[in-house]
């Protein structure tokens, strides 16, 4: 008796349905970009906040200001919707790379870190899908019309370069402190603040 073909046949149809469902969901999810980004970002903020109940006071001596990128996080500048995807993708990618190098002592902190990395990974996949769709449906004439409607809106634009420099300073701090416990605590707090700023940015765009 060969039951494998029977099992495969039984699972093929549900798998196809699931695939169609997932692709359909993803295709429809790009319309709910703000909701998705806001949910994932806020979840990461809470995870980073609750990762440790206390902050070692001796680490205050090693504290450092990283000069967050103002071009990206300035609320006064109008930010187009299609720029949000690129900015969030860049931020998620850089944060994920930093946390990939993190090592925490307690199991509770490690558990929180895994959840953060999983959330960032899902957000990256979601943004990649949406960016591919946008690239395929991009209409040059619409871009020219946007230029006419919002002259100079793309300059000054949120600079991914500044964002990369910001995260580079964070990586350098970690390297300089030799990935000490206090350095990680400080970086954890800094990235939490970064996520909160992006959360506020999404809310501002949603109101507009």
């Amino acid at each position: 008796m060969n039951t494998q073909p029977d099992v495969i046949r039984k699972c093929v149809w549900p798998a196809c349905l699931m695939g169609l469902f997932i692709t359909g969901t993803l295709s429809l999810g790009c319309d709910l970009l703000h909701i998705h980004l806001r949910r994932v970002t806020w979840q990461n903020v809470k995870l980073l906040t609750n990762m440790s109940k206390s902050f070692p006071l001796e680490c205050l001596r090693e504290n450092n200001t990283f000069q967050s990128p103002r071009e990206v996080l300035a609320y006064s500048q109008p930010l187009l919707h299609r720029d949000i995807k690129g900015v969030f993708y860049e931020m998620s990618m850089l944060a994920f790379n930093i946390f990939a190098q993190c090592t925490f002592q307690s199991t509770g902190e490690e558990k929180h870190l895994e959840q953060i990395q999983t959330g960032l990974d899902q957000q990256l996949q979601y943004l990649e899908q949406c960016l591919k769709e946008e690239k395929g449906n991009e209409d040059k004439e619409e871009m020219e019309e946007d230029e006419k409607r919002h002259p100079g809106a793309r300059t000054p634009q949120p600079s991914n370069l500044e964002l990369r420099r910001y995260f580079h300073r964070i990586r350098s701090f970690l390297k300089d402190k030799q990935y000490s416990h206090c350095a990680w605590k400080i970086v954890q707090e800094e990235i939490r603040r970064c996520f909160y700023y992006f959360q506020t940015l999404i809310e501002l765009l949603r109101r507009k």
Partner: protein, 514 residues
């Protein structure tokens, strides 16, 4: 020796500096090193002011004084003393001007002491955006008929901070009203203008219902919410308006019903001719040009008294449906006197009117019927009365002339006679006579049938001793050929009734109806 004294002085000075100046310079580092997490910190937004409070895990330790210091984690600065929170006796402090940003992570440091002894040395970490408790404002409710006034009590002014700063930013106030399990939420935005007391009206409510109201603050980020206790009020019933509406509706309905009833009554009365009679009579009923004498006056109403009728028994011949010669009547029933009942018996009357050809006897029957006129209870006819005289409490109105009889209003008799003369039939004579014509009995008595229902009796004025007056009735002949006359005795009663009925009905037969 001198060098030793200098060393001692230097040590004392450094010690003095360490004790008194050290805490402000960096000596807290040593204190911070010994700090622990023996405190539970909580941040509450009360009247738009963040209040930091702490609670010792070891409640047996009760310091007399507290000193609060803080720093911002991202700044990396030294711990600073919070203004107004040094050597305080209560375990809470207003940090409105110290904690301004929702994004930052604040590190509070509390030192509790009693006298010169440090009892508590704890450090914490507080994130306002996630841990701040939004305390609801105080409010009162006033219920009316269909709405509720919610009076919210806010501070007279907001903390003066740079634009974009303040923990009370981006807040909204939620007002929930609940009635019978149904909850409605009303959302209000709070900004710099939300100061002092103001009233929010919850309208479109149902009168005479119980409503409960609760308020709480909400923020866009997930802060901890604190709902206020429910305050309930019962709305006033809409009695006046309801009664006025019902009264107006009732008045309209009653008017409509009355109008319908009156209209229907008027229609019915008009149909039956009670009102709005036609004034134009047919020409035949127009008696304006007719001489008055043609319509003699009706006699005044007279009291009708009970009269005695003398029954006269008479044998009746049964008609055998043969047209042979009739045998003579044989017996004459003895006249019976009826105490006042109507009778169709032969009534023996003495003729006083010479013009009258004959007097007829009233055909009698063995049975006496009811009296012709209302009066006292009719007396039964005494069977022995044979005088033939008509006796009664009242006497017949005797009129000796036919004209007088006419005047007396013996319409019925006259018409009957006329009708009978015309038609030749006795319409309602249940007591047929054997003879076809008037018979003459000894004593010149004439017997004729009289319908007492058509006879009016005049009551004499107080003179009952006289002989009973004799009525001069118009002549009535009995038709023996009438099938009714040949009816047998036992059948007289029903025939009487039939004749009575016929007399009552048949105007055309000569009898007038009473």
């Amino acid at each position: 020796m001198l060098w030793a004294r200098r060393a001692v002085a230097i040590r004392l000075a450094s010690l003095y500096l360490m004790v008194h100046v050290g805490p402000s310079l960096g000596a807290p580092q040593a204190s911070l090193a010994s700090s622990d997490e023996s405190c539970i910190f909580s941040l509450t937004l009360r009247n738009f002011r963040p209040i930091l409070s702490w609670e010792l895990k070891n409640r047996s330790i009760v310091p007399a004084h507290y000193t609060l210091r803080h720093t911002i984690m991202s700044k990396g600065a030294d711990l600073e003393l919070v203004p107004g929170c040094a050597n305080i006796t209560r375990p809470s402090c207003d940090v409105t001007h110290a904690w301004r940003s929702l994004v930052e992570m604040y590190l509070p440091w509390v030192i509790g002491s009693r006298g010169s002894t440090t009892l508590v040395n704890c450090v914490g970490k507080v994130s306002p955006v996630l841990e701040m408790i939004l305390e609801p404002p105080e409010f009162e409710i006033v219920g009316f008929v269909d709405h509720i006034n919610v009076i919210l009590k806010f501070p007279p002014s907001l903390p003066k901070l740079p634009p974009g700063e303040g923990l009370w930013l981006r807040l909204s106030l939620a007002i929930e009203e609940e009635s019978e399990g149904i909850v409605r939420q009303h959302l209000l935005k709070i900004d710099e203008r939300t100061t002092g007391n103001f009233t929010y009206v919850i309208d479109k409510l149902i009168p005479n219902m119980n409503y409960c109201v609760s308020v709480y603050l909400k923020s866009e980020n997930l802060s901890k919410l604190l709902r206020s206790p429910w305050k309930c009020a019962r709305l006033l019933p809409r009695a006046e308006s309801v009664s006025s509406e019902s009264a107006s509706i009732g008045a309209l309905m009653s008017l409509f019903v009355m109008a319908a009833v009156v209209g229907g009554a008027l229609t019915v009365l008009k149909r039956i001719g009670y009102i709005c009679l036609r004034s134009k009579f047919p020409k035949v009923l127009n008696f304006d040009g007719v001489a008055i004498w043609a319509f003699p006056k009706l006699p005044p109403l007279e009291a009708v008294a009970v009269a005695e009728v003398i029954h006269i028994h008479r044998k009746r011949k049964v008609w055998d449906y043969s047209y042979d010669d009739e045998s003579d009547g044989d017996e004459e029933a003895a006249p019976r006197a009826s105490g006042g009942g109507y009778t169709l018996h032969g009534l023996a009357v003495r003729a006083l009117c010479p013009e009258s050809p004959s007097s007829a006897t009233l055909g009698g029957s063995e049975e006496a019927e009811s009296l012709m006129a209302p009066g006292p209870e009719p007396e039964p006819w005494p069977a022995e009365r044979t005088s033939g005289a008509y006796e009664g409490k009242g006497a017949w109105g005797a009129q000796c002339t036919s004209g007088a009889s006419e005047e007396e209003g013996t319409w019925g008799a006259q018409h009957t006679s006329e009708a009978s003369e015309e038609e030749g039939t006795w319409p309602a004579d249940p007591f047929p006579r054997e003879d076809s014509g008037p018979t003459k009995s000894p004593g010149d008595r004439i017997f004729f049938n009289v319908d007492l229902n058509s006879v009016l009796v005049r009551v004499p004025d107080g003179d009952d001793s006289e002989a009973p007056a004799v009525v001069c009735l118009p002549e009535e002949t009995v038709d023996s050929d009438d099938p009714e006359d040949s009816a047998s005795g036992p059948e007289d009663a029903p025939s009487d009734e039939n004749d009575t009925a016929r007399s009552d009905v048949g105007i055309g037969n000569g009898y007038m109806m009473r």
